[in-house]
């Protein structure tokens, strides 16, 4: 437990000693603002909810989460520090968990800094704050799932750009299998049961429930399985270096 904390502490520190953290936070907040108020037509909707805010998250995270996580292992490989880390008296799991949790905490911070939209919607109307909480929870787990996939691609290469591209493609795949235009297209030739089965692998399908205010254990379980599987695969990749 203590080693996980030591590694997480260093990882979080390295976000803030480089410009990465500040660039990421500013861009993330600018983009959430733009998508919510301009593209999402927050005011024109005339409803006291954050649907215009959360609806964009699967797409927004698509680029931003891999950008925040791509250096996790790729940079260790490039700089050779992975040799130092893996010869310390810690298990690979502790290193993987420490790094993942640090990045996830950083994404949670970015998400927490969007609090002004919650304040805004509360000042303008009386929204269902339970629903907003569920949305935030779902968004947090969505980010975690993307991040775990980024951990995996980052462990596969010493090149951060390759890690970024691979994880964007993998995450895009997880969106598209449940994205309405794609499922509609598939429904033309596939049986509804097959379409539903495929869509069940999509992050969008499982994020929808949270947006509607429902915290379903099956959805939580889905995100936790994606995270668990991706981190397990990371361990396999690191072991076979």
């Amino acid at each position: 437990m203590k080693s996980i904390w030591v590694i997480a502490k260093r990882e979080l520190g390295s976000y803030f000693t480089s410009p990465v953290a500040y660039v990421f936070l500013v861009i993330f907040l600018l983009l959430t603002g733009f998508f919510t108020f301009t593209a999402g037509q927050f005011f024109e909707r005339g409803e006291a909810s954050l649907a215009a805010f959360f609806g964009w998250h699967p797409w927004l995270y698509l680029v931003l989460v891999p950008a925040a996580g791509m250096r996790l292992w790729a940079e260790e490989r490039r700089a050779g520090t992975i040799e130092l880390l893996m010869t310390m008296p810690i298990t690979p799991w502790q290193a993987i968990a420490g790094k993942f949790l640090a990045s996830w905490a950083f994404l949670a911070l970015a998400l927490a800094l969007t609090f002004p939209v919650v304040v805004t919607v509360n000042v303008l109307g009386s929204p269902d704050n339970g629903m907003i909480f569920a949305g935030y929870l779902g968004s947090f787990f969505l980010a975690g799932a993307y991040l775990a996939i980024t951990c995996l691609t980052s462990a596969m290469t010493r090149n951060q750009v390759v890690a970024l591209i691979l994880s964007v493609v993998a995450c895009l795949f997880l969106i598209l299998v449940g994205f309405n235009p794609v499922t509609d297209l598939m429904a033309r030739w596939a049986s509804p049961a097959l379409v539903d089965t495929v869509a069940a692998f999509s992050v969008v399908t499982h994020f929808d429930g949270f947006q509607k205010g429902a915290i379903d254990t099956r959805d939580l379980l889905f995100f936790l399985s994606v995270i668990g599987f991706a981190l397990f695969a990371t361990n396999v990749v690191l072991r076979n270096r």
Binding site: K2, S3, V6, I7, R10, G13, S14, T17, S18, A79, G80, T81, E83, L84, M86, T87, M88, P89, I90, T91
Partner: protein
């Protein structure tokens, strides 16, 4: 302290290490010699548990590195090739990180930091970030990391590489000093270091031990012995 038994490492079809066996006891400084690409770093990476051996056994302090890696790794201080270190950290931050991963805390951590900084002459750069350090200082920072928990076994991969003559002299003295109470293995291709710091030398070539003994046993002049025993890079393989 270190026992290596017919160690083999294969990368695809290539055998980087081909059945190396030797043992190192406390109080010994073993120079690990060989041309570039002869398997020195690969062997050291297997001793420290970074690579899993394809065949053979490594044990450190009686702990098998593959079966009980944590117990073995606790006893080892390791300076990897090229002295890798987290560039965005300060020297003090990096050493504190290493100390904490080694399970040191509170006063024990403070004392360990003080001792390592003093031994490696780092006090003047303590709060400088590692990417601004000269190569010599970066090397010493990584060496300090290897010494932080006062390990019983030291594995140093080219500890004097890239240092100026004064620094080389200091590091050799340090290695000799440390070797009185620890088991030290260091790799080098500078033959004068064998006389300067080693109690014993092991010469490997193409993944095999071709000679071992005290510098006197190996014969003089050393560089002639070395050339006779090993294959030049340019020779046909």
């Amino acid at each position: 302290m270190i026992k290596i038994d017919s160690l083999v490492k294969e990368f695809g079809a290539k055998r980087a290490v081909d059945g190396i066996s030797f043992a190192v006891e406390r109080g010994e400084v073993v120079g690990f010699l060989g041309p570039n690409g002869s398997g020195k770093s690969t062997t050291m990476r297997m001793i420290t548990g970074y690579y899993a051996p394809s065949a053979g056994k490594v044990s450190v302090g009686g702990h098998d590195v593959v079966e009980s890696p944590l117990e073995a790794k606790r006893l080892i201080g390791y300076l990897p090739e090229n002295a890798a270190a987290y560039a965005d950290m300060t020297v003090a931050g990096f050493l504190a990180f290493a100390a904490e991963l080694r399970g040191l805390a509170g006063t024990a951590k403070k004392q360990a930091l003080g001792r390592a900084v003093e031994r490696c002459f780092l006090s003047s750069v303590l709060h400088q970030s590692i990417d601004t350090l000269s190569k010599g200082y970066r090397h010493r920072t990584c060496l300090a990391q290897a010494l932080i928990h006062d390990p019983e076994v030291l594995i140093l991969d080219e500890p004097t590489d890239g240092l100026d003559p004064n620094q080389k002299h200091e590091v050799r003295n340090l290695i000799r000093e440390l070797g009185k109470t620890k088991a030290v293995v260091f790799s080098t291709h500078i033959l004068e270091e064998v006389d300067a710091a080693c109690t014993r030398a092991i010469i490997i070539d193409r993944g095999r031990v071709v000679a071992q003994g005290t510098p006197d046993e190996l014969g003089r002049p050393l560089d002639e012995v070395f050339r006779r025993l090993t294959t030049a890079d340019t020779a046909k393989r």
